[in-house]
Amino acid sequence: MSEQTLIPSAGSGAARWIGKRVERKEDARLLTGRGQYTDDVVLPGMLHVAFARSTIAHGRITRVETSVAAELPGVHAIYTARELAAQPITMMSFFFTPSEVPITPLAGELVQYVGDPVVMVIAETRAIAEDAVSLIEIDYEELSPVVTIADAMAAAPIHPGTETNVASEIGDEEPEEDLAQALQGAHCLLTQEVVHQRISQAPMENRAILATREGPEELTLYITCQSPHNIARWVSLALGLPQTAIRVIAKDVGGSFGLKNTPWKEECAVICAAMLFGRPLKWTEDRYEALTASNQCREAQMRLSAALDANGRLVASHAVYDCNNGAYPQGADNNIAVHMFLWAAYKMPAYAFLSRGWYTNTNGLAAYRGPWAMESLIRETLLDKAARRLGIDPVEIRRRNLVYLKDQPAVSCMGIPVDDITPGECLEKLVAHFDFAAFRKEQAQAREQSRYLGVGIAAYIEPTGSAGSMVTMTGELAQVRIEPTGRVTAMMSTHSQGHGTATTMAQCIADRLGVAYDDVTVFEGDSSRGGFGPGAAGSRQGVIGGGAAIRASEMLADKVRVLAAHLFNASPESVSIEDGIVHIAGAPEMSRPLGEIANIAYAEPDRLPPGFEAGLEAQFRYQPPPMTLTSAAHLCVVEVDTDTGFVKILRWISSEDCGTVINPGVVEGQISGGLAQAIGMVLLEEMPYDARGNPTAATFKDYLLPAISDVPVFEFIHANTPSKTIGGMRGVGEGGAIIGPPTLVNAIADALSPFGEIEKLVLPLTPARILDIVEQRDVSGFGASHSEMATAPVADAVQEPEAPPPMPENSQEQSAAEARSIDGDWNMVLKTPMGPQPMVVTFATDGAGGVSGMFSSAEGSQAFDGGRLDAGRVRFDLKVEKPMKITLKYDLLIEGDIVSGKCKMGMFGSAKVTGQRA
């Protein structure tokens, strides 16, 4: 691990806190169970909410029967959409734009997804509320569900009053003629196709809300969110109340990753009911609801074409992108950012695209760490494919096309100015840390033993710290004060759902004020404290909040200097603050604790210089450049087990430029968390729906999150260059989840390259899908269900995985003799995990070491060929279809009339084979 090189900064004190791996302020509390998450909060008179939800994906509600439920002791109220409408609410996107289709907290006439809340029960306890829900009857007239993107393209619109299921669209159906010509006429035209599965953000803390109406126009909310300020603003607009009437508190939030950006149906229902019913109401989502009824993300498909010249330089590109918005997205979305950043770090002369979002009868689309991440995945995997096609090294193809510092300033093909990016420089540092030649040697040796190692690299840039371009994306406010005691407190507009902003902001303040880190306390998490800020959205808090904290602290330090200079009859320039002590240069006897100066500033107006505002307080709202770009290059090494389809990650190196690092532990934590989520997306996680629109991953046993055993130790190279913001930070919250997937996919593709290309990348790469590639046939069954998008593998790319070893010359005759001896029928028993399976095997040899034959058992018979006989050892593969698609690898020893050996059965391990001649 390389140490962070500190960027010199002009603070007032000698002790540097920016750049230090200090322990986090949050941790003592969180480690001892003293966090305050929303569900931990209890108010007097509080009642609990549970929802009766739609059991069908699409239909008309014909009857709702709640009378039995209402009679249950402990039930206080039951609301349907009709009753709840007494408190109107306008549900909006994260950008405060009203929804394109009307959304109500509870479904009124139509249910649009399985899990759509229909009835709300308010009861003494959650258990009673759930009991009551089970007594509610809802009848539907079922309509045909629209589940997939392909369904949406073909089906009638799900939302009344709309003409198609297109939620949002941008771009051109067909590329312009020039572009089409550039693509077709190029030396090499490559197409990459990605089918990205649906992901559940799955923060460990589920959504929760506790709403209490304090008066006719006063509402206090405890809510799982990404910014209390943003929620207060959103709710005030949604309810038409002044923002001052709404106080939002979220002291601790157990992760969010985009999910908790805005309140959605359930939270809004609780808010409306709290306004109507007048008692504090709490709803805490359980994991079943979280997985099946919460918003989700990522489901998309994209086809990218890119043309390259004979030197491997990019010439032109075109893409078609479609994403599933579900029924009620948090803002109808065609994900334009995919196209904006697809080629922004590359010298790509021409690009055009079509991008569409589709409504379906599934859970709504919400944000997730790097929502546009498809661009890096599809581009970087395409580049590796191009490198293999053209016979260029993957590092080299990037060197020829990346925008290095020497090429800047530049403007991307989408008009994005880039004058401050270093993906190429990150790549060079990365490559210097890895011995490719040695790896290629090891890889070649491993392949001889049928072990498949692969290395993958990827490079990218990412927009962070966005402010000023969208209504929600504002600057951040820091209010810093030196208390009369000399302790420093700050109210920040930032918010942590694990980010550790109370730590990093305190480091910025301690550094620039010249006080000890332990003497700084940062308050956040309450909309009644601090100014507006959108919180954690788009890797922005370190950049903007950090800049605000730094500048406010510098302003405050200046104020101390002016006062101390006046008190000691010195010049402000001669005053310094170090570790909480105010010094006058050349006069050590005049050194005073900051508290003493502060006390004078607050309590002794007579001693202040003329015009000096009493107290020691400063505030600064930082409006940074509209966006700050972060760059990185990553590398990973994998081993793919071609028998089981399992992938083992052996090594992972991150080389990133995130500007000034406030706390390396926090920065590495953010990248690592994103990378773990990337590993989940590539190998494990999937939220599938059946044809009727039922989400079929309802527990963490179906929805597989990465465990410690799935995630390797990450190595970090901090290749930082300060940005142009105050403090020089660059955002780092999302990057791991963006660059992780292509890095890992490229490593797997490299490992599997002897078997052919991954023609269509379908995520996750489950063991079965890995075997699709190994065997170049549809083992996973995905191809059959998605035949409309299936493409045939490129035949000439497929090489024999294991060429049969050349026959030693002197054994030719001997083997011919043996060959005759094994021909005929053999009775064998295969000891499978399900019990012994008897069968008759018929061998036929060709006299030159080749073996073919037939397997017969009660289940039927199956032929095989391509086997080898060598010195009494018979080896062959049997590709079976039942009970599942799997390749059985037989390795048998024949001695006289007796046969013994084993059969490798993919992920099920090996089974013993015994038998004798029939």
Partner: protein, 162 residues
């Protein structure tokens, strides 16, 4: 609903309460006794966030009923350290190693590590293996791994002395 009276010791204090038969030990500790450091991440035994100790062994409190803890000694994360503001070595290692971000999975992680320490099974391998039963969505487990290494060195060597 059938109610039962249960008696147990929680964090060293005796409690006697009436509970419904269906109430999980986790809900009982959170809702009845206010030990909100017991976190419910899945309520079906996979995530490990709700891990506490019952009679010295790590237990998923979402999978155990309160009535099953009758007569037991229960320890939650609130009662793990010796003194009010002290940290148990497992908590201290997690803090030093940046083993947490949002802190939601953390009480469970800490309780499992602490129970392994108490059991003298605090070699690195056993602790990493036990950690595969905990889901952390934030950290990518890097800090947890480092905390385990620190803890194994510290408590492991202290243990072998005695």
């Amino acid at each position: 609903m059938s109610e039962y009276r249960v008696e147990m010791k929680v964090n060293g204090r005796r409690v006697a309460e009436a509970v419904e038969a269906r109430t999980s030990l986790g809900d009982f500790l959170r809702l009845k006794l206010g030990y909100t450091g017991v976190h419910m991440g899945c309520e079906h035994g996979v995530c490990g966030a709700c891990t506490i100790m019952v009679d010295g062994r790590a237990v998923r409190s979402c999978l155990m009923l309160a009535v099953q803890a009758e007569g037991s000694e229960v320890l939650t994360v609130e009662g793990l350290a010796d003194a009010q503001d002290a940290l148990h070595p497992a908590q201290d290692a997690m803090r030093k190693a940046h083993g947490l971000q949002c802190g939601f999975c953390t009480p469970g992680v800490v309780m499992t590590l602490a129970s392994l320490c108490a059991d003298r099974r605090c070699d690195e391998q056993s602790m990493v293996a036990a950690m595969s039963g905990h889901i952390c969505r934030c950290t990518g487990y890097q800090g947890i791994r480092r905390a385990i290494t620190m803890l194994a060195a510290e408590v492991g060597s202290a243990g072998s002395d005695t």
